[in-house]
Symmetry: C2
Subunit: 407 residues, 2 copies
């Protein structure tokens, strides 16, 4: 834009512009052109492709494009497809392959990859990528409905910090992600805290990237649907100091098969996290000002942590939780579950919220757990969604759970 | 690991384990297996490839691998290659292509892409990617020497925050990245501040990702080579609220051709940034506690800002700066440069540091500028490196410049 402005000045100069002046302008133009291309040419190793992909059309159908003239077959795979089978792109005369969804897509954050002659490839025209454990995929967002909560909107934004804390129990310095709501820094109020836990293979980056936690909280607070709150996203793998690439282990290949994930360490060390937050932020230092929720393995952690420390959390959220009754041999945390649950529910938590999708492979375990709660007369709220063990559902659960907190 | 532990328990059960106990264990094993695979299978759209790439060998040669049995030609391009021509990978009998660098690589953070039958592709085995304007490339790090500053080491870590501030001058709410050094939150000291500016096409994410600013500062401070300082990385495009994808503009395709980058707005509004930081952090609120540095366009900004506000910064760093004398028609900021420089240098800045690479396309402009400074007798320090307009150089310049500050 600036360059075009210059070009116009040069091509249509008012009379007052001298020859020298125009030559100087041309020199500046040359420098500006080089500046804007320099990082591309020297660092980015190729200009990518000058096209838009994916393109969300006005009717919410989506068109994907890939310039691959030498490819024999290009397919696309992604969670927007109605079947598990990849869809074929069609090659145009110019070597550009294209695929348009046969119908408009529902509002959602979607992920996809191309398969170029069978090789999984990212879309060179889409810089938006999210890592899930050891795989990186492109994402796009179809707005509208609930998915507007996942967008960055023109509202007041909270602060997101990556911060290290000391865990005396684990004898480690560890990294966490902390969201403080808009206004936190400008006032002197105390804020309640939601502790939000990831699943197996995840880390302190999972909720902020795949979970769109920043956007969901910013938007819910701006709409007056959720109370402003601090959201703390710790790392739930007791063997890890930090997410892959963020610790002294270097740029290693991530795995979901980590030691010390569901054997008691995270639960035993959780007061270290709460103490750190209560010591470093203006929190409501009381059960009434604390919520804990987690997805999958994080739901397992939230389940055990909340009953292990029955005076710590007034709000509990189990999102597609990996409820497994038989862990007694692993850690004191897993012993005497029924007695601990009795104590926890005798103290009347304000909300005990269980959510799961109809086709989740953990459905049966959750159903059995609800039967146990029913049999004991322990009060809980149940939210059942479509589909299974998916980030789509965990974003829905967060956006349903957060408005219920701290009222 | 945990799953293997379970498997061993099941396959070699002590006598005390009953049939029921073993069956329960098997059930838990099945759940754990599903948990650890669930996100892969349902979200990540394919398992990627079960191999290591890139592999940094013990002698610092590097091996790249790609499983692409149907490809006819696989090449690699990257800033580790000695020539601009891509190198060919060799196909193995198993369909895995491989390339090993002919010699050990010097310590550095490198970027690369594959070209699969001409199509630029990311490495599916490497989750470490950095965006540069509109292009995303894989990165890897060969440690040793100065590059050890770019690694996450086992040292105390600062906090990195993405935070929004209000700019009354630009009438916008804008996003910045702020590094506070280890210990900042735990003490009551005041800290000096380095304002660190990006180049054309960059944004508030550039220094923290491509620039490895967190790692460089953590490591320099831990080694006692730099004073603990706050590092503020604002967005230098006056038309942008935030980096691509982080504003209400949505997930659009980034461009380096932005309006309002070098026409005075950033310089005029810079006191908004400094006021925000001085109001929200425990800073040394004095010229002696402030440094400003920038690369390329950010060097241009640092040049103009430091002379426009001659009482604001005692330390100035121009990294491959886009020094262009003739900007007088654009903004009052660019007028009377010589008079402003005279005022600035009459106030004896503690450090005026100019760095550029021998082959940088801006070398001549910087040489001319140094001649001007020499002619006027204005004191500056000059640092000349090999090569050109590259992030490699900007990381070097930061690691050379930061130790000179606030002594």
């Amino acid at each position: 834009m600036q360059i075009i402005f210059y070009l116009c000045q040069i091509l249509d100069p008012p009379e007052k512009y001298s020859y020298t002046f125009i030559m100087k302008k041309l020199l500046i133009l040359a420098v500006l052109l080089q500046l804007s291309l320099a990082s591309f040419a020297q660092q980015a190793l190729g200009r990518g492709q000058n096209m838009i992909s994916p393109e969300v059309n006005p009717d919410n159908s989506v068109t994907f494009r890939l310039n691959a003239p030498k490819a024999e077959k290009v397919q696309i795979t992604g969670d927007f497809l109605t079947s598990q089978t990849p869809s074929d792109l069609t090659k145009g005369d110019d070597g550009v392959w294209e695929f348009k969804t046969p119908a408009p897509l529902k509002p959602e954050l979607y992920s996809y990859s191309f398969l170029v002659d069978g090789l999984k490839s990212t879309d060179p025209n889409n810089v938006y990528l999210i890592r899930d454990v050891a795989t990186v995929t492109n994402v796009f967002l179809v707005g509208g409905g609930r998915a507007d909560l996942y967008k960055v909107n023109d509202v007041a934004h909270g602060t997101v910090s990556r911060r290290w804390y000391s865990s005396p129990t684990l004898k480690m310095t560890r990294r966490m992600t902390i969201y403080t709501p808009a206004g936190y820094e400008a006032d002197n109020k105390r804020y309640p805290v939601l502790y939000l836990l990831h699943g197996m293979g995840g880390d302190e980056e999972a909720w902020i990237s795949l979970g769109r936690a920043t956007q969901i909280m910013d938007n819910l607070v701006a709409q007056g649907k959720a109370k402003p709150m601090i959201v703390v996203m710790p790392n739930g793998n007791a063997s890890q100091e930090a997410a892959p690439g963020e610790s002294a282990l270097g740029l290693y290949k991530p795995t979901s098969q980590l030691p010390k994930t569901m054997e008691g360490s995270i639960e035993e060390s959780f007061p270290d996290v709460v103490n750190f937050i209560d010591s470093n932020y203006r929190t409501v230092k009381a059960k009434s000002g604390r919520a804990i929720a987690g997805l999958s393995m994080g739901g397992f952690h939230a389940y055990h942590i909340s009953k292990q420390y029955p005076d710590m959390f007034d709000y509990v959220g189990l999102f597609s939780a990996a409820i497994m009754s038989e862990r007694e041999n692993q850690s004191p945390v897993y012993q005497d579950s029924e007695a601990k649950l009795k104590t926890q529910f005798a103290k009347n938590p304000k909300l005990y919220w269980i959510a799961i999708g109809k086709t989740d492979f953990l459905y049966k375990g959750n159903e059995d757990y609800r039967k146990l709660l029913d049999a004991k007369g322990y009060k809980y709220t149940y939210y059942e969604s479509e589909e299974g063990h998916l980030w789509k559902n965990w974003r829905i659960y967060l956006s349903e759970f957060a408005p219920l907190l701290f009222n």
